[in-house]
């Protein structure tokens, strides 16, 4: 597959991040390209359209000051790849894999293609290993498992990175199995990057991490590489070294904006809101790089973070993401305003792999029904809350009033944790306490056998209710 490097003087044209070459020999799709101009830093790019007449190169760095007539372009004959290896743990790199920590470039163990090949579906093991995150709204209601891709849908200013950091901090704790964290900063600010890293530093996890950092001021097109560099590294750590790797990628919204920019430069027909029609496929090529492979001890779990523009979940970025990932954790501005921390709205949140990760031998046998029951009463309580605004509490039926009360208790007593970690057992107990308050007929998702262990608590609650009721 290798071709020798070929160097050409002068390009036919340049526009935005694209350089157009004429008369190249045997250009290869995806080939790595270097562009030199006297007195300027060397730029790198990639062939995205190979043609006898015109070959198009997408340049990663800023093309400011690039003159097509004077540029010296080398087609390297190699496909884009990154250095990977255990040696990268503890390092901070740019989105393209160059050192950002003042240390020499890593030598690594291998080169891995940036555009990784898909895992053969028959080689996948269905993910089912429960990860205790310490976050009740996740562990209890939307369980995360190893090998899952579970994004956080955030809104501007909501504490998504804090949540991601909390999850990463806890997720590594149990069982003492070898783990690593890959953090990919995509176009986020210095402050956001620090928010995340400080949490991490405190817990001493930094030497188990590889950071790929492309910040707001860094070149836009490099944002398309950063997550791929991170995922290539994660795959190597997981499937060669057997580590359980958690990949946090923030912020996918900036990634999509970079994708749109390239699409616009190529004068492609834009899709919804100007994003390219192939954005689903492109995002899938990132998110599908999570999973567990047969016969390999490690795993790649993804926690992408994205900002819903205008808190709109139907915007193409959250929409396409939700169509690819295995659920989503949705943050709510309303809960945030009311001081609920983390402000997770469990109704639109979902973990599609929850069922495989819970139940007998994994968490507890009644986990599913416990969650279903809370969901059903909480959803009714939320509807009742809306109704109260119109008809007042007295207009509600008794069952609606009970549900409303549960909803309040659920948000304050289960979702809200104020920075404190809960074990799964504590989460389940908090939920049971809420359910204990309800009469049997409100609990149709649970069987008599499932309610049996709560008998004493339920009777006590019933007595309290009877006493509180005026005769």
């Amino acid at each position: 597959m290798t071709t020798l490097a070929r160097t050409y003087l002068g390009a036919r044209a340049a526009a935005g991040p694209l350089v157009y070459l004429a008369g190249t020999q045997r250009a290869r799709l995806g080939e790595w390209v270097t562009l030199r101009t006297a007195g300027q830093p060397t730029l790198r790019g990639q062939v995205i359209d190979a043609g006898r007449d015109v070959t198009v190169v997408q340049v990663l760095e800023d093309t400011l000051g690039l003159g097509p007539a004077a540029v010296e372009v080398t087609l390297t004959g190699e496909l884009a790849s990154v250095v990977v290896g255990k040696e990268l743990l503890g390092r901070a790199l740019s989105g393209a894999g160059d050192p950002r920590d003042g240390l020499p470039p890593p030598i690594g163990e291998a080169l891995r293609p940036l555009w990784g090949a898909p895992i053969n579906p028959v080689r996948r093991v269905p993910p089912s290993d429960f990860i205790e995150t310490g976050v009740s709204a996740i562990d209890g209601m939307n369980t995360l498992v190893r090998g899952q891709k579970l994004p956080v849908f955030s809104g501007p200013g909501l504490p998504a990175l804090e949540l991601a950091a909390t999850i990463v901090e806890s997720a590594r704790a149990p069982r003492g199995e070898p783990f690593a964290v890959v953090f990919v900063a995509i176009g986020i600010t210095e402050r956001e990057t620090r928010t995340f890293l400080e949490r991490f530093e405190r817990s001493g996890a930094l030497e188990r991490s590889v950071l790929y950092v492309n910040q707001a001021q860094d070149p836009t097109i490099e944002r398309l590489l950063a997550p791929r560099a991170g995922l290539a590294c994660a795959e190597h750590l997981a499937f060669v070294h057997g580590l359980h790797v958690l990949v946090v990628m923030a912020d996918i919204t900036h990634y999509c904006d970079a994708l749109r920019e390239v699409g616009a430069a190529r004068e492609e027909v834009p899709g919804r809101r100007g994003y390219p029609g192939y954005m689903y496929t492109d995002l899938a090529s990132l998110f599908e790089r999570a999973g567990v492979v047969r016969g390999k001890p490690g795993s790649v779990t993804q926690l992408p973070v994205l900002t819903m523009p205008d808190d709109d979940i139907t915007h193409p970025i959250p929409d396409l993401t939700g169509y690819i990932t295995e659920g989503q954790v949705v943050l709510s501005r309303d809960l945030f305003r009311r001081g609920v921390s983390p402000p997770i709205d469990v109704l639109p949140s979902l973990s599609r792999l929850m069922n495989a990760g819970i139940g007998k031998d994994r968490t507890v046998p009644e986990h599913r029904k416990w969650a279903d029951q809370l969901y059903s009463v909480y959803a009714r309580g939320r509807e009742a809350r809306q109704m109260v605004a119109i008809v007042g509490e007295s207009g509600l039926s008794a069952a609606d009033r009970r549900a409303l009360e549960l909803a309040e208790g659920f948000e304050k007593g289960l979702v809200h944790q104020a920075g404190l970690r809960r074990t799964l057992a504590q989460t389940l107990e908090a939920g049971w306490r809420l359910l204990d308050e309800l009469p049997r007929e409100d609990l149709l998702k649970l069987s008599d056998a499932q309610l049996e262990p709560r008998k004493a608590q339920r009777e006590a609650a019933a007595r309290r209710r009877a006493e509180a009721k005026p005769p």
Partner: protein
């Protein structure tokens, strides 16, 4: 060396020069790696090709080899339980050759040529045979796999094999004519012919209450299942694949998740089909082209799946195709169309989207098969549709709605409340309902049709009353309206609600579905009688009925009778004040 050479490579498309005699849809091998591709357009001596494998790494001037054949699939014993990609290669073979990650350029035949099958002929020497005639059978995983004379072949049997035959060996020899094999080839984009198309009347039981009772599907029919992300399309497709009354299921994972496919393999392998006593996987063919696999093969995977289903239909079986999701198929068309610089239609989709979707749906149906002995078969198509932003007015949803015989519209609000299946009964419909009613009335209960109308009426009235209740508060409603709300809540939550993960309720027999539905109607009637008799709504023991209905629904088979008796008691006790 001369011959066709690459002159351009971009995305999933390539252009080759030196292709003057090529024809449209001809299969080609592209580049040094020999990637599979197909001719999409011819201009002078330049062919535009869509490439079914990853193109990065392809270099200009690499050779292109012509095959002089269209994209086709091998049909024969060995398909059941197979997992193949969008161009028919078994994924196991790809893994054996390339490891855990899919490497481009691997060649593998759909059927293993060396497997031996026990062939029992039904034709005899000297017999005249024509296309579609059954030559004989092999037993494949509990299914009698009928070996058919391929289209275009006919003659007198000169010799016929019996006993162990390898997949690649002949089973019959025609006088002065060709030899016939256990397998045949068929171009995936061409509909397999049948003698006659028949009306779709009998319902295909799904085991899902909301579908069998409210929106039934007929054998040979088509259903569109549109819904935003996380509304339950895949769970529905998987439940149908497990429990629907089809003989063979072709599950097409088109542009969706790898883990879902791993889950299907894992679960279907473990779940036993009560009718055959064998794992569900053994009646399933999986066509897998996940979202990160090449886009062009996503487009072909749907046709591949339909071709396989038609092949089993032609043997006289009920085949069902679960396509998840047709939106990804349409997006593949859009992606390729836009690279071809075609004039885009609505939302960038090619202008031929609707006609392609219609043609694709037309491959479903019930038919009188070609050949002897006489037999009928069917292909029923269930397609998930993934509208962007959950907006059903978009082109792909609209194209599928126009041609679907039934629509099961999914509602994110219900899904958020975990009310599953999250089917919006106002937006859903089935054109097969009338025909199905007669069938159910005859086989399950005479009151089937009446029960169904009553349920629909309840739900309709419930919607109106809930709007009023939202303004005045439920406490302000009259007693008979509160009763109706209580009856409708039974219907929504307990009768139509069905958890795919509850081992006792994931499948519901038509008898069970009817009893539960009828119980809700009986509750309404008994309640009305009680109100008429002077009771107030507050005096009715609604809680007991709710509990009894939930218990009857969720009871294990052995306890079901007792639970239904308790439900009857609760209904009888409804009006009697304690």
């Amino acid at each position: 060396m001369t011959g066709p050479k690459l002159r351009r490579v971009v995305g999933a498309l390539a252009e080759a020069s030196g292709m003057r005699d090529a024809v449209l849809n001809e299969l080609v091998r592209v580049g040094d790696a020999g990637l599979l591709g197909e001719v999409l357009r011819l201009t002078g001596d330049v062919a535009t090709l869509q490439v079914f494998e990853e193109t990065s790494g392809l270099a200009l001037e690499e050779p292109v080899l012509r095959s002089k054949q269209p994209l086709s699939v091998q049909l024969g014993p060995g398909l059941l339980g197979a997992v193949i990609d969008g161009i028919g290669r078994p994924l196991q073979a790809l893994a054996a050759a390339g490891g855990d990650f899919i490497a481009p350029g691997v060649d593998a035949s759909t059927l293993d040529p060396t497997t031996r099958w026990d062939f029992s002929p039904v034709v005899t020497v000297g017999q005249q045979v024509r296309a579609g005639d059954v030559l004989g059978t092999v037993l494949e995983k509990g299914l009698v796999h009928r070996i058919l004379v391929p289209l275009g072949k006919e003659g007198t049997i000169e010799r016929v094999a019996s006993g162990a035959v390898r997949t690649d060996e002949p089973v019959a020899w025609l006088l002065d004519g060709p030899t016939l094999h256990l397998w045949q080839r068929w171009p995936v984009r061409r509909t397999r012919p049948a003698r006659a198309r028949l009306a779709s009347t009998e319902p295909l039981l799904t085991g899902q209450r909301i579908f069998d009772v409210l929106f039934p599907i007929a054998e040979g029919g088509t259903v569109a299942v549109p819904g935003g992300f996380g509304t339950g399309k895949t769970v529905i497709e998987q439940s149908l694949a497990k429990y629907a009354q089809a003989d063979v299921v072709v599950y097409v994972g088109c542009g969706e998740r790898g883990n879902e496919m791993a889950e299907v393999l894992h679960e279907f392998g473990a779940l036993v089909d009560p009718r055959s006593g064998r794992p569900v996987l053994e009646r399933t063919v999986l066509v897998v082209n996940t979202s990160n696999m090449p886009v062009a093969a996503r487009e072909s995977s749907v046709y591949l799946g339909l071709t396989i289903a038609e092949y089993f239909r032609d043997q006289g079986y009920r085949a069902a195709v679960m396509a998840d999701s047709l939106s990804r198929w349409a997006e593949a068309l859009r992606e390729i169309g836009s690279r071809l610089q075609e004039m885009p239609g609505e939302e960038g989709y090619p202008t031929y989207l609707a006609s392609r979707a219609a043609r694709l749906h037309e491959r479903a149906g019930r038919v009188q098969c070609l050949g002897a002995p006489e037999r009928t078969g069917s292909v029923t198509l269930f397609s998930a549709v993934s509208p962007p932003g959950g907006d059903f007015s978009e082109p792909v949803t609209q194209a599928c709605l126009r041609v679907g015989g039934a629509v099961w519209a999914l509602d994110p609000a219900l899904a958020h409340q975990r009310q599953f299946p999250a089917v919006d009964w106002n937006a859903s419909y089935s054109l097969y309902a009338e025909g199905a009613e007669a069938w159910f009335a005859e086989r399950v209960d005479r009151r089937w049709g009446e029960t169904r109308s009553r349920l629909l009426e309840l739900l309709q009235r419930d919607g109106e009353l809930r709007e009023i209740a939202a303004v005045v508060g439920p406490e302000a409603l009259e007693d008979h309206d509160r009763l109706l709300l209580a009856a409708a809540a039974l219907v929504r939550e307990l009768v139509l609600g069905q958890s795919a993960f509850d081992p006792n309720d994931a499948y519901s027999s038509p008898q069970k579905s009817f009893r539960l539905a009828r119980a809700a109607i009986d509750f309404h009637d008994a309640g009305r009688a009680a109100l008429k008799g002077g009771s107030s709504f507050a005096e009715l023991d609604v809680g007991r009925v709710r509990q009894a209905l939930a218990a009857a629904r969720d009871a294990a088979a052995a306890d079901a009778e007792a639970a239904f008796l308790k439900l009857d008691e609760a209904l009888r006790a409804l009006g009697r004040t304690p």
